[in-house]
């Protein structure tokens, strides 16, 4: 049970990073930490202690394997997170070119 609370703490670290930091790069890193906290939570839900990876190997019966459904879901979530991170970094580069800073409190001139 305590590992789920550790996931919550990790998520809260990412949330603090997004809400409190001023640098855009640090906000992107905070979003990544939040995303990985959720992924870790999904994997831990499917995990049981005396179990092995859900892969059929030689002369092994199908028994005592962890749930493969959250793992497939998290693999898709990692791919989507990669695309979202690339988009955020591209937007951050454009902001740096236009304003010359990564500080979100100095970005005030929103014309055009």
């Amino acid at each position: 049970m305590s590992v789920y609370f550790l996931c919550l703490i990790l998520f809260c670290i990412g949330l603090y990073c997004v809400l409190r930091k001023r640098n855009i790069i640090k906000i992107i890193i905070g979003l990544g930490i939040m995303e990985y906290a959720v992924n870790l939570f999904f994997i831990l839900i499917g995990y049981r202690y005396p179990a092995r990876a859900p892969i059929l190997a030689k002369d092994q019966v199908i028994a005592n394997i962890v749930d493969p459904l959250p793992q497939a879901l998290v693999l898709t979530a990692i791919v989507i997170g990669l695309a979202v991170t690339a988009l955020l970094v591209a937007i951050a580069i454009r902001i740096y070119e236009k304003y010359g800073t990564f500080d979100i409190t100095k970005i005030r001139k929103l014309h055009g």
């Binding site: 990876a53 892969i55 030689k58 791919v79 990669l82 690339a86 970094v89 591209a90 580069i93 070119e97």
Partner: protein, 149 residues
């Protein structure tokens, strides 16, 4: 290599020259054993792309773009998508989507087994590897293009 100023220091360049081939081979190994062990097309493709990104970070963008230019990355990415789609659509000749009728399934737990799944893994790895490298190249070249305006 020819341009001494581009890229990182001599230590990083030497270590990169030793390790970049091993990283590429490990990615190919992950792709080819995707139906037997953990891993597969996506993971192997990411490792293959990381070997080229490693080269670009250590030596500068000219050396990496000489190995795999952005035009070729785009071509390989499209080729992976078309290969996956044609493997899937080839099943219509036998009846339905993704039907394997032209490759023998082989003995289980050996390298040449599982029908069309290794071919699908190779197509996915081409798509993912070239696509991830193209994203990185786009982010690197982005700044130089707009600065000229």
């Amino acid at each position: 290599m020819e341009n001494k100023k581009a890229g990182m220091t001599l230590i990083v360049k030497t270590i990169t020259r030793l390790t970049v081939g091993l990283i590429l081979l490990y990615g190919i190994y992950i792709v080819l054993h995707g139906h037997l062990t953990p891993g597969g097309g996506f993971s192997g493709g990411v490792i293959i792309a990381l070997s080229f990104i490693h080269l670009m970070l250590a030596f500068g963008k000219e050396v990496a773009l000489k190995k795999l230019s952005e035009v070729w990355a785009s071509i390989l990415e499209s080729l992976g998508a078309i290969m996956f789609l044609s493997i899937a659509a080839l099943g219509f000749l036998g009846g339905y989507f993704f039907l394997n009728f032209f490759l023998s399934k082989g003995r289980p737990f050996t390298l040449f087994s599982a029908g069309i799944i290794p071919l699908c893994n190779i197509a996915i790895s081409l798509k993912v590897g070239a696509g991830l490298f193209a994203i990185f190249v786009a982010l690197v070249l982005f700044k130089g293009l707009t600065k000229e305006k």
